[in-house]
Point group: C2
Chain length 319, copies 2
């Protein structure tokens, strides 16, 4: 299989565009490289929240009411766990739990996270390739005004309330990036890299913190397109805007573009941020303007098509 | 706490009399020592079927329709596990799973099975002391016409269908029996030991296979009373009768009495087996005749009272 489009994403926000891409591309053309910086061990189980969100979303099994987890989920396990005095700050649904138990068992038996992820995706009917960013652990850790917090303790346990002073991606310097992704980035068949509108610092930075992957993204022949997660000075979802303020950045789509300078060749602004095109150009990136807010499958597919067309324009211009 | 009555039991059958005892005795007088020979690791989780059956039964949380597990149980985890290609020969309910996950986590953190069992029992409202027979692993393994099978593979996986040629209790020679049980057996305050009508070879033999516990039972000053699990040549529940045939034994209540010779001072026959009293006496045990089939709570309590009264008669006769 020679991948034509490689998408990079974290969880919920990024998965929307990944779903759009999966609907407009033949499955064999698309691979999705997913953040594992928020993976953690909970109750002795190996939990991979972003990988699972993307898996469930692409399988059409995601819970659209909750915005995370599986559709039709039940919570008997959590109720009983509470009765037993177990930790209940992180919800694990009865169905979702099967994946964590099975992944933990298979990891302990020596299988890799990428092999398990591929098998689970296949069994749940996900057609494109789904790759965790690395089999080696990388862990996002936040330095906050409440002290050092592991990602899920900050994000779920404290609902992203603590003020963040700095972020570390432990293990990223030595973790080996997914070899299939590295091969795709070096392959002339690759036509586009799409950085989905995930949180840059929490969901994409863990990938970029791996030096070999960052270099491969910076030097790949394919155009790299990032889609802004900031629209009109606000985040569509999650703590991106709050985090940017805490990191001393202006909460603008162009400030996010600055984060991708040196990596991205093109940057997609929402229509609301049309006036920021010159700021993006000043960073040495081509700018495109699109409706980026994805309400439903049609808008996800439309954005996916627009982003691919933008990449194609850049690829032809460079040829 | 000085225990006055120590009950020995396995899972479902034995738990009925244990429940009866718990209803007729002040909780501080009763301790229940439970078989762990059928404990196993499944899906990476530490499962203790007999300990859990007794816990759930005494907590009033047991599933009376299924005959095992928790009342009101749901099966979303198993459904999803099946979808993921996981092992589905052993059913784990969504609620029940909380105990296995939490126990596995606490064992890995260095807590003992007996400490975890006591805490779970307390949280679920079980008043009498509930002791696993040992913290060290003892594993019942069956030599069958289908080869060597771990207990649950034989009992649940193959529904006790293979013909059993021999039974081993791996680890029993070196496992240290529960120290509270050993102390109780040496304590003059102990007034009775009740061997519940569990399967002798599968549920009680693992306890007796620990030399120190067998010696303590043989030499305790308190009368040891065993209740026959065979009534009229048939087992009330489970594969006891089939197993006796395979082991070359007559399927009679007195053949079970023979198994307890040297341990039990008294043996309770069902009314149906009144004619076997002389066989029991020939084995050097006092015989009592009672209605031993426990249909409901009233018959469980009645048998508990009768067994305690029998022990009291033997104790006074010996004084």
């Amino acid at each position: 299989m020679r991948v034509r489009v490689l998408a990079l994403c974290g969880g919920i926000g990024g998965a929307k565009l990944a779903l759009g891409l999966s609907h407009v591309l033949p499955p064999e053309d698309l691979a999705i490289l997913v953040n594992t910086g928020d993976d953690f061990e909970h109750l002795g189980l190996a939990v991979s929240p972003d990988v699972d969100t993307v898996t469930y979303t692409l399988a059409g099994l995601n819970n659209t009411e909750l915005g995370w987890g599986l559709a039709g989920e039940t919570w008997a396990f959590m109720d009983q766990l509470r009765l037993l005095g177990g930790e209940d700050w992180f919800n694990l649904g009865d169905r979702d739990l099967a994946l964590h138990v099975e992944r933990t068992r298979r990891l302990a038996a020596g299988e890799s996270l990428s092999a398990i992820t591929a098998d689970v995706a296949r069994r749940l009917g996900v057609a494109p390739a789904l790759w965790p960013m690395a089999d080696d652990p990388v862990r996002t850790v936040l330095d906050t005004d409440e002290g050092t917090l592991a990602f899920q303790r900050y994000f779920v346990g404290r609902r992203a309330q603590p003020a963040v002073r700095a972020i570390a991606y432990q293990g990223a310097q030595t973790a080996r990036p997914n070899p299939d992704a590295m091969a795709a980035l070096a392959d002339p068949a690759l036509e586009a890299v799409i950085v989905c509108p995930s949180n840059p610092w929490l969901s994409i930075a863990p990938l970029l913190a791996m030096p070999a992957l960052r270099d491969a993204l910076a030097t790949t022949a394919a155009p790299v397109i990032a889609v802004s997660p900031i629209v009109g000075g606000q985040a569509i979802k999650g703590p991106t805007a709050k985090l940017m303020e805490e990191l001393g950045l202006p909460v603008t789509a162009s400030a996010v573009a600055g984060f991708y300078a040196g990596i991205a060749d093109g940057y997609v602004l929402d229509e609301t941020d049309r006036a920021l095109q010159s700021d993006v150009a000043a960073l040495g990136m081509a700018a495109d303007v699109q409706p980026t807010v994805m309400h439903d499958l049609a808008t996800k597919e439309a954005l996916a098509r627009a982003v691919l067309a933008f990449a194609e324009r850049l690829r032809r211009a460079a040829a």
